[in-house]
């Protein structure tokens, strides 16, 4: 087996390993990292300050490498390459041999040679360890300075703002993002950032860092001015980390960087370099997408394929910097021969756009956007595919003058199949089209089968457009109407019912719908009415709306009998209650099974038995478990700190409280919770819609996970919450889900389709961006206050009980139901078994 060594386990190094693992050949892979962690997401590093979680950043883990036979050594640096013996040596004395060596050492931050730059509270911004150090320095600090007003500098600025520091950005050039932006764009960006309380200082050349008077340090500038600060963050550019190659006499560029050819080979054919340490045709690519492309090319070449080459990369970027959308495409500065520029400046809304076109004005060469980058995807395609502009360039710049026609003046249909839609995973329009032809019909499908839009997410709008356009071509009507009876989406219906305070389906249909209603809109509206007003679901006005399970408050099984599930909050049950369930099961000969949600399911109850069974269960202190509803099911818990020697919080107590709070909440689909008492996560909370994991300092909240058919790990939403804040956030998340999800859409798919995703949900729930948090909480409070055990209501209502029998005109039973005994319990007879039973009876 070919031995591969990967030096550096950053984003690109890990991507390379993934590429090798995906090939048909087998390799013996070993990777070295000088950092303590395996590969993590450096692009979203600043989220570490808000989420406080290393896990959320991780791109891989030990388990994944172990499972795939990848050896890894962390905290050890490769210091020498022996090209003759084809082996490497590490700082800790490890020696390993290779057939192919891949250098993916990335880059290191450039720290300007300013006297005093080595003070205790001077940092760089690249690794998780850097961030820990920054956080420590920020503890007793009020003011922070970022040196460098480029992309990374502004990203670092956000980190200081998140840490609560009064933040300054000091830039040597006359404007921010000097590489990408012109002076107008830079000026607008500056204005927007200053609105957020960040002070920007341009044309400042720092000469020394000395002791401060009001703060820890004083930065002295060449023009005689100074700035006092407690913390300094250098973010003035990166340099390729090429020391290992340099020491090994591998060819290095004049200004640094390991020289590579189109196959990413260095001057030594067995040694490759990829990512920010590599120099291709005199260029360093400081973005992750070109690094991924190099990883792909190198992996292919090592696997013996020579058809794929690295031929440069487009450096267009779109970012959100301190909340401001900024994008730059191609020749943003307009340096191409004979090019012309068009500009649009909206001083009121803070939007600046600039187009660079060729001399005949029919091709886009470059662009800049500040304040509104919604056209980025379309414009990038125009540029990358050298597409003719159908109208004059000025039409691209003007805001939607004509409602309904896209301002981009270009549909996705105009794109060639080769157009790259997702640059993170190199997914083309053709691949998305093929996926749709193979049956994909939602964004979630596209994401899972092509990976498009699962990296930075910048292409999600464009991917959706391609998806919808391809679906339409296949004759699939892309309509958000819930059904033929209402020309509204579920979310719109919800808003109508909420705002107009509509109390019944008939009232809604007569005012907003048409026809008689169907099996789609009736249960959907029934669910909305229940979510909002929490009336008894079998009420005269609602009974005809209820789906299979709700209409008899039980889960219908294949033979038309029902299963019965009493609620067992948190999975905690007394021996007496356990006995009571056993007695009921025994009396009615119900097949008994323990569920995954820590309760007990009793199968085979016939209609007429349901009320008697429930009477006995209610007498024993049980309530309905809503196992039949699109509603809260269970809150699974581990035993927690009350018994477990590892537990740090009372997970059972929390689970019981939460289950009792949200029981009866009707939602677009079922909802499951999990609460774990420590990070060992025995309750598997990360596979639940709402997952809660105890920490020493409180609770970590995870949202929108799922088990089942398409498992999804829940996203970390917030950490170290106290009980009240935890409940407040859950109230808001759930109500926002109830309001905005499609019918039968689990939280996982809802999240994946939510425009803006997790960040948007956080903005709505934590920052109250839409100013609806109070409303969401009071809506939830209303549901909680109006809870009723539907079975208790039912068994006390003579009129309702009439429906719980097989026949309206006799007390006889359904003769078609028959059972056979298996492993000590009964189960429905199969069709064959039914026939043989009848024959046996006849013969006897």
């Amino acid at each position: 087996m070919k031995k591969i060594i990967v030096v550096g386990n950053g984003m690109v190094g890990h991507h390379f390993i993934d590429q090798l693992l995906a090939s048909d050949s087998e390799f013996e892979i070993t990777t070295f990292s000088e950092e303590a962690h395996l590969a993590y997401d450096r692009v979203h590093l600043s989220s570490y300050f808000t989420d406080n979680s290393v896990e959320a950043l991780m791109l891989t883990n030990e388990q994944y490498y172990d499972d795939n036979g990848v050896r890894y050594l962390v905290n050890d640096r490769v210091v020498a390459i022996d090209k003759t013996l084809k082996c490497i040596h590490t700082q800790n004395g490890v020696t390993a041999s290779y057939d192919s060596l891949v250098i993916a050492t990335g880059s290191f931050p450039f720290v300007p040679p300013i006297p005093g730059n080595d003070n205790e509270h001077c940092h760089v911004y690249r690794t998780i360890e850097d961030l820990d150090a920054i956080r420590n320095s920020a503890k007793d600090a009020q003011i922070g300075v970022v040196v460098g007003g480029g992309l990374l500098g502004l990203e670092a600025g956000k980190a200081l703002v998140d840490l609560g520091l009064k933040t300054h950005v000091v830039e040597f050039a006359p404007r921010l993002m000097a590489v990408q932006l012109c002076s107008e764009g830079g000026g607008l960006l500056r204005g927007k950032i200053e609105e957020l309380g960040v002070e920007v200082h341009t044309e400042k050349n720092t000469q020394s860092i000395t002791q401060g008077e009001s703060c820890r340090y004083r930065m002295n500038f060449a023009d005689g001015s100074f700035l006092e600060t407690d913390l300094i963050l250098f973010s003035a550019g990166i340099r390729p980390q090429d020391k290992l190659a340099r020491d090994s006499q591998i060819e290095i560029g004049e200004r640094g960087g390991i020289v590579i050819n189109d196959y990413c080979q260095t001057s030594e054919p067995d040694i490759y370099a990829i990512g920010e340490c590599a120099l291709w045709q005199g260029k360093i690519f400081g973005l992750v997408a070109p690094g991924y492309s190099m990883a792909k090319v190198a992996a292919k070449h090592i696997d013996g394929h020579i058809d794929k080459q690295f031929l440069g990369a487009d450096m267009s970027t779109k970012l959100k910097l301190l909340g401001v959308d900024v994008a730059s495409i191609g020749d943003a500065h307009g340096v191409s021969d004979g090019c012309k520029t068009y500009q649009f400046l909206d001083g009121v809304n803070g939007v600046y756009k600039k187009l660079v076109v060729n001399s005949s004005g029919d091709r886009l060469l470059g662009a800049i956007m500040v304040g509104d980058a919604s056209d980025y995807g379309q414009w990038l395609q125009l540029y990358l595919n050298d597409m003719p502009l159908s109208q004059g360039p000025e039409y691209l710049l003007l805001p939607d003058a004509d409602e309904g026609s896209s301002s981009s003046a270009m549909g996705v249909d105009a794109l060639p199949d080769s157009a790259s839609i997702c640059s993170c995973f190199d997914v083309t329009k053709g691949q998305i089209r093929e996926a749709v032809q193979a049956g994909a019909c939602s964004m979630a499908d596209i994401k899972s089968c092509t990976k498009a839009s699962t990296g930075c997410g910048g292409c999600s709008a464009l991917t959706t457009q391609v998806l919808n356009s391809e679906l339409e071509k296949q004759g699939v009507e892309v309509s958000t109407d819930i059904c033929a009876h209402f020309a509204y989406s579920r979310q719109e219906l919800f808003d109508i019912i909420r705002v107009k305070k509509i109390q019944s389906y008939d009232a809604l249909l007569s005012e907003y719908g048409s026809g008689g209603g169907c099996e789609i809109c009736k249960p959907a509206v029934g669910s909305i009415l229940a979510s909002l007003w929490n009336d008894y679901v079998l009420d005269d006005a609602h009974i005809g709306l209820q789906d299979t399970n709700d209409i008899f408050l039980g889960n219908m099984q294949k033979d038309g009998t029902y299963s019965v599930v009493p609620r067992v909050p948190g999975g905690e049950i007394t021996p007496d209650k356990l006995i009571a369930i056993g007695q009921v099961a025994k009396q009615f000969d119900l097949y008994t099974k323990v569920t995954g949600g820590q309760r007990i399911d009793l199968f085979g109850a016939q209609l007429h038995e349901l009320p008697i069974i429930w009477q006995q269960l209610i007498d024993a202190g049980f309530e309905t478990g809503h196992a039949y509803g699109k509603s809260l099911r269970t809150v699974k818990s581990c035993v927690g700190s009350t018994w477990c020697r590892f537990g740090v919080q009372d997970s059972v107590g929390m689970a019981i409280d939460l289950e009792n709070r949200y029981k009866g909440l009707r939602a677009p689909h079922k909802i499951k919770f999990g609460v774990s008492g420590c990070t060992r996560e025995c309750a598997e909370a990360q596979s639940k819609d709402i997952g809660i994991i105890a920490t020493e300092n409180g609770w970590g909240l995870y949202v929108c996970g799922n088990g089942g058919m398409r498992p999804r790990h829940a996203d970390l939403f917030a950490t170290d919450l106290d009980d009240q804040t935890l409940v407040k956030y859950i109230d808001r998340v759930l109500m926002f889900y109830v309001r905005t999800a499609d019918r039968l859409q689990r939280t996982s798919v809802w999240m994946e389709n939510l425009d803006g995703g997790l960040d948007y949900l956080k903005e709505v729930v934590i920052d109250d961006k839409l100013n609806i948090a109070a409303e969401l909480e009071s809506d939830m409070q209303n549901v909680v206050a109006n809870y009723q055990c539907e079975w208790k209501t039912t068994i006390n209502d003579e009129k309702r009980l009439q429906r719980f029998k097989q026949f309206i005109n006799t007390d006889e039973l359904d003769s078609n139901i028959s059972y056979v005994r298996e492993r000590g319990q009964r189960r429905p007879a199969t069709e064959v078994e039914k026939i043989s039973t009848i024959e046996l009876v006849t013969e006897a």
Binding site: G516, G517, E519, M556, D559, R803, F807, N809
Partner: protein, 107 residues
């Protein structure tokens, strides 16, 4: 045509169905709205071979009324018994007469 009386129409809540046992046969009766209109079909879901159709959801498609099976949601026409999903499948439908509020079915 002989009609067998089954029950008073008030026993069928508007928007729902019930099942009657008539001469040993399970017949599902549906009352789509609060007026005196009732339809009768076989109660057996021909796909699942279970007696459940009376517990389905009444729906309207193309200006016709259907019952969606509670098990796997196949729809059957309330007047003809034809299945919307599978044209080769049809269940029996029966004439219904309502006299002074009493629902009667002819097998």
């Amino acid at each position: 045509m002989s009609f067998v009386s089954v029950c008073h129409i008030d026993k069928i809540f508007p928007g729902t169905g019930v099942c009657a046992l008539i001469k040993g046969k399970q017949v599902a009766l549906f009352r789509p709205s609060d007026n005196a209109e009732v339809f009768a079909l076989d109660n057996m879901d021909p796909f699942a071979k279970s007696n459940v159709l009376s517990r389905g959801l009444i729906c309207e498609h193309n200006k016709q009324l259907w019952i969606a099976s509670p098990l796997k949601k196949q729809r059957f026409n309330l007047e003809t018994g034809d299945c919307l999903e599978d044209q080769s499948v049809s269940i029996k439908s029966y004439p219904v007469k309502i006299t002074d509020g009493t629902v009667a079915v002819s097998l």
